[in-house]
């Protein structure tokens, strides 16, 4: 059992290439519970690759990722238990109802009462009355909420969000921001990948800018977003 102030995420020397393209060139990251990292960077800088590596969806070609003291590897499924992912895709099956989708997730995470938990989570997302509907029957905003419900089924303490505000209107975006604010607790850590820093600026405690597969900037979130824009331009120019 790692000590209370041990990092939730310990990534060392992550490197990953897709043929001739080096998406990550030796990235280190320590993330403690309670921290919210805002991950920025130009297109193709490696943000998604880093996120997916932290999620255990990509096996690093060099380096390692430890989550809550356990190394992520194909042989240790339980190391993935603390991880939750919210991407711009909903991860839902179109032919299953919302309830069925969530109960499936619950069973895969060995929850004691998948159905009860599913209904609770759906209720919190104001989707309980749509529980027997298929994802395609919902509006875009509702689909996003359904995806959130699925991601939160197992109450993950590491929440990874890959451009979650994409395609959301102002109301839905505010709603998501409010939810993330609620989810930001002392036990939970989050990594939010976004193209627009303003979307999640107030939530973040740290900011990282990936450029060409390496950190251009990694540190506490500055108070002033406008001032940070200058830093970002400099750093992104490489």
């Amino acid at each position: 059992m790692p000590p209370a102030d041990a990092p939730l995420v310990e990534a060392r020397g992550l490197a990953r290439r897709y043929g001739p393209v080096h998406a990550l060139r030796g990235v280190d990251l320590d993330l403690h519970p309670g921290e919210v990292l805002l991950l920025l960077g130009p297109n193709g800088a490696g943000k998604s690759t880093l996120l997916r590596s932290l999620a255990g969806l990509l096996r690093p070609q060099a380096g390692s990722v430890m989550i809550a003291g356990r190394r992520l590897s194909g042989d240790d499924p339980d190391a993935r238990r603390p991880i939750g992912l919210l991407s711009h895709q909903s991860l839902l099956y179109d032919e299953l109802t919302l309830l069925e989708n969530l109960v499936l997730a619950g069973r895969l995470y060995d929850l004691p009462d998948p159905r009860g938990r599913a209904e609770t989570v759906l209720a919190r997302q104001a989707l309980l009355e749509r529980k027997d509907d298929r994802p395609r029957q919902l509006s875009r905003g509702m689909q996003q909420r359904a995806a959130i419900a699925r991601a939160l089924m197992h109450d993950p303490i590491l929440l990874l969000l890959d451009e979650p505000f994409t395609g959301l209107d102002a109301v839905a975006g505010d709603r998501l921001r409010a939810l993330l604010g609620e989810l930001r607790t002392a036990e939970r850590a989050m990594v939010i990948v976004t193209h627009h820093a303003s979307e999640a600026w107030d939530l973040a405690t740290r900011v990282g800018v990936l450029v060409g597969g390496r950190w251009g900037f990694l540190g506490p979130r500055p108070a002033d977003l406008a001032a940070f824009h200058l830093t970002y331009q400099e750093v992104a120019r490489g």
Binding site: A55, P77, D78, R80, L85, L91, Y93, E95, E100
Partner: protein, 226 residues
């Protein structure tokens, strides 16, 4: 161990539920089988070769092609909304994931076979008589093996552009030995010989099954883990 099985059954159950709702793959495969049987009927000269000699080959060829149609869906359904990531993220071992997909595929192919066999008996006017138990056993043993390989290959080809075409190209060579063993077993059975006469063929089928189910379970994580 129990947990792994529970995970596998949850995944298999999900696939079954989804397919039974749309029935697209099952129907396509069943219709395909019926069409193939019909074409075979018109393509042969009844005076030249006795039906009972040709029948096993016709049955097994039909089953082979219809099964490929049925197995295609296994991983293409996972691509919608990135759902497969959900399975990969979960604390579920890759072996359980494979087992779940495998069991679902096995069920689908067995359903298609259950539809094909009566049609086959009907179209070709056969009297199976005592051959039925042996035939069912052969069908089961052959299916267990090639579905194992098909499950791995459908995971691979799901990422390619021409998945429906790639799967048969890769899988058919692997279906030939079970097909040959099965035909070799079925011919004597149709001729009324007892099950004890065809044990060698059944043993080869079992050997193929052990080899390829094991290999498939071991190699599956290499396919799905990037």
């Amino acid at each position: 161990m129990g947990r792994a099985l529970r995970h596998a059954l949850a995944i298999a159950g999900k696939d079954l539920r989804m397919e039974l709702r749309t029935r697209t793959s099952l129907l396509s495969a069943a219709v395909f089988a019926a069409l193939v049987l019909m074409v075979f009927n018109f393509a042969r000269d009844p005076t030249a070769v006795a039906t009972v000699d040709l029948a096993p080959s016709i049955l097994w060829v039909t089953v082979t092609f219809a099964s490929v149609v049925a197995m295609n869906r296994a991983f293409t359904v996972e691509r919608e909304n990135g759902a497969f990531d959900g399975l990969l993220l979960a604390p579920v071992s890759r072996e359980s994931l494979y087992l779940g997909k495998y069991l679902a595929n096995l069920a689908f192919v067995l359903i298609v076979e259950a539809i094909t066999l009566p049609l086959f008996v009907l179209f070709f006017n056969l009297d199976l008589g005592g051959a039925l138990p042996g035939l069912l056993l052969t069908l089961l043993l052959a299916t267990i093996g090639f579905v194992a390989v098909g499950t791995v290959f459908s995971a691979m080809v799901a990422k390619t552009r021409f998945a429906e075409l790639m799967l048969p190209i890769l899988l058919l060579p692997f279906m030939v030995p079970p097909l040959i063993f099965a035909v070799k077993t079925t011919v004597p059975l149709f001729a009324g010989r007892p099950l004890s006469d065809v044990l060698p063929g059944l043993r080869f089928l079992a050997l193929y099954d052990v080899a390829f189910v094991t290999l498939s379970v071991l190699l599956f994580s290499a396919v799905v883990d990037e």
